[in-house]
Amino acid sequence: MTNHADPIVVVDGLFKQYGKVTAVNNLSFIVYPGETFGLLGPNGAGKTTTLGIISGLIRPDNGDVTVGGFSVTKDTQKAQRLLGVVPQGLALYEDLTARQNLTYFARLRGLHQAEIKRQIAQVLEITGLEDAVDQKVRKYSGGMKRRLNIAIGLLGNPKVLLLDEPTVGIDPQARRHILDAVRRLADNGMTIIYTSHYMEEVEYLCERVSIMDHGLIIAQGPLYEVRALAGDSVVLRVPATDELLNDPEALDRLKKALPAPLEPSHAELRIILTKGSEQAPEILNILVEHQVSLNGMQIEAPNLETVFLSLTGKALRDNGSEASAS
């Protein structure tokens, strides 16, 4: 998607250090009105720090961000008025009902009584929480809490929504729910900056992405361009039978043949071939020699995960992440 409008968020040369750790290292990107921009990176990449700086909560050591033309370091309040923030943690009160939460945060957002009622109804509808609004949040499922976390961020009709790993720790179905809600927001024209370490989510939602590692951007651009950086890479997904997992020799041979680490999860073995077809025969040979059933084996096209792997030589997530989006 090409966009001729003026950018709404301009991140320019951000730098932030915590002691010896450089959390954000010369970070720059631009987000256009109405687009969903993905910030993908493993734990500790600097995603939360970046969002913290954009929302005016963390002062950068260097660089600046403008939102709708307002500098977040100089015109903080004006910039903040355009932003909706959904923190990585559940920033809400579990001992109150959803309505009490929403009312409280709406007041602090500076909304007036009539407006509060109207907007609460609106954000409840977007997040699908109408039926549970008068229940204590403590009784909510993980997914519902996450949705309320988003609903609060939507108060005040922000132009730009910052979502920090909004699907952490919930089951696939609840995740689907959230992704769809975010999608609807995007379809209605909201600008979204979405951070995650789930490449599937970013691929599903975002038009343009930035892949971060150790505070640095290692790849950035439209999704298809970034994906192409993976070149010829291929992911083999082999059902992990007990025979295979209990065959140390087979695993050992696989490890030796691969440039990148294996990713065993309880259900399957993800074998990432950064050189694609070139490596495939050798790997398949090992599997066949050790009588591993290739029934149910799948081949995946290059994706953001393989990009990350081929650029950094390591997996985006620690092994065996619980759910996948699709």
Binding site: G56, L57, Q77, R81, V85, G89, Y93, L96, F105, G110
Partner: protein
């Protein structure tokens, strides 16, 4: 801008209080537990406060009486307590003062010729035990005189205030000096006040824990992204701690008054003093918040540690007269001790104006604690809060 600030502070404070009020733990830890402790201590330590308190030797008390109507019953009362007093009668105040200065007598009582105009005066070392005992022994006598004749009402109220002359004994070595209105307190009376003062700090601390939880959960970040400043938020937190503390003391007052017959003094003095108690208790916990990481568990732990320690030193767990003398005189600057002594005095009929020592200690602590907290919070790395 000011309007928005006030509105934000009100919103945050109300929300904090609302959450505290709907939390069942508040009722258990904050209201039931202190009352239970008061009850248990009141029952079990009653003997410590028994009225058969007896000095090793009776006090030598001088009496100058210019008005037999008042003087005679006082004389009678003093002589009826030979285990406490030996009475020497003087013709004029001057010779009594000389003996007082020479340590021949420990205290003196002066009954003026015109008790309607001038109060009866007790002359002794300020805050000494003999002073306290004389006060508690003579008060009922003077109260009775008030009942006898309507005209004596005025002088009686004057009389019950212990007046001290400048020429008091300075030699205090053989006499324990305590500022507690000990002689009038029984164990329920003492511990109701002592536990109230101690748990007022806990009440404030619980409110502060709620505040700290917002820092760890990211809720504070969210609120700040709404344009609410840190100082506004901290102020609201302080305010809710004050209110919790005042609320707690109020409940303690009402319940102990009704169930244990505890005296808390006149409402007109109790109210401002209790507000001051709230401000001080909240300031202690606010200071704790500003020197430890903003984490509810740490605030809780640090609070428990500090409160237990200063409550002990301040006479809330072991009664002050039971503590070693050097410790008692060393801890006069403790705000919670000043609060306890203030309440004890109020309960024995003193008015606010006579609490100048306590009020000084309390105001200085308040200024120091809040001042230090403000300074620390302004130089502290912002990431910490």
């Amino acid at each position: 801008m000011i309007l928005r600030t006030m509105r934000d502070i009100g919103t945050i404070t109300m929300n904090q209080l609302k959450r505290l009020v709907i939390d069942p733990a508040t009722y258990i830890w904050l209201f039931t537990l202190p009352l239970l402790i008061t009850y248990v201590l009141g029952i079990s330590l009653n003997s410590l406060f028994a009225p058969e308190f007896k000095p090793i030797r009776p006090y030598n008390v001088g009496l100058v009486q210019h008005s037999p109507i008042v003087g005679a019953p006082i004389m009678e009362r003093l002589e009826s307590l030979p285990q406490l007093f030996t009475v020497t009668v003087y013709d004029d105040e001057e010779s009594m003062q000389t003996d007082l200065a020479d340590n021949i007598i420990t205290a003196g009582v002066v009954v003026p010729a015109d008790p309607l105009v001038h109060p009866v005066r007790v002359v002794s070392t300020p805050e000494s035990i003999v002073n306290q005992i004389l006060y508690s022994v003579l008060r009922p006598v003077l109260d009775q005189l008030m009942i006898m004749s309507a005209e004596t009402v005025q002088f009686t109220t004057e009389v019950t205030k212990t007046q001290l002359t400048t020429n008091t004994r300075s030699n205090t070595e053989n006499e324990p000096k305590t500022t507690v209105a000990w002689a009038q307190a029984d164990s329920f009376q003492y511990y109701s006040l002592a536990i109230a003062v101690m748990f007022a700090m806990y009440a404030a601390n619980v409110a502060m824990q709620y505040l700290a939880a917002d820092f760890t959960s990211g809720t504070f970040g969210r609120i700040r992204s709404f344009g609410v400043t840190r100082s506004r938020y901290l102020f609201a937190g302080y305010l809710s701690a004050v209110i919790m503390s005042v609320l707690f003391v109020t409940v303690m007052t009402v319940v102990t008054k009704v169930f244990f017959g505890v005296r808390w003094g006149a409402l007109s003095a109790w109210l401002p003093f209790t507000l001051l108690c709230g401000f001080t208790s909240a300031a202690i916990t606010y200071f704790i918040l500003s020197i430890v990481p903003a984490n509810p568990k740490i605030i809780d732990g640090a609070g428990t540690l500090v409160f237990n320690f200063i409550a002990f030193l301040g006479g809330s767990t072991a009664p002050l007269p039971a503590l070693p003398q050097w410790l008692v005189s060393f801890t006069t600057w403790l705000p919670n001790r000043a609060l306890l002594e203030g309440y004890l005095r109020l309960s024995s009929g003193a008015d606010l104006a006579s609490l100048s020592n306590e009020l000084t200690v309390i105001s200085i602590s308040l200024v120091v604690l809040l001042g230090l907290s403000l300074i620390i919070n302004s130089v502290r790395p912002k990431g910490a809060l």
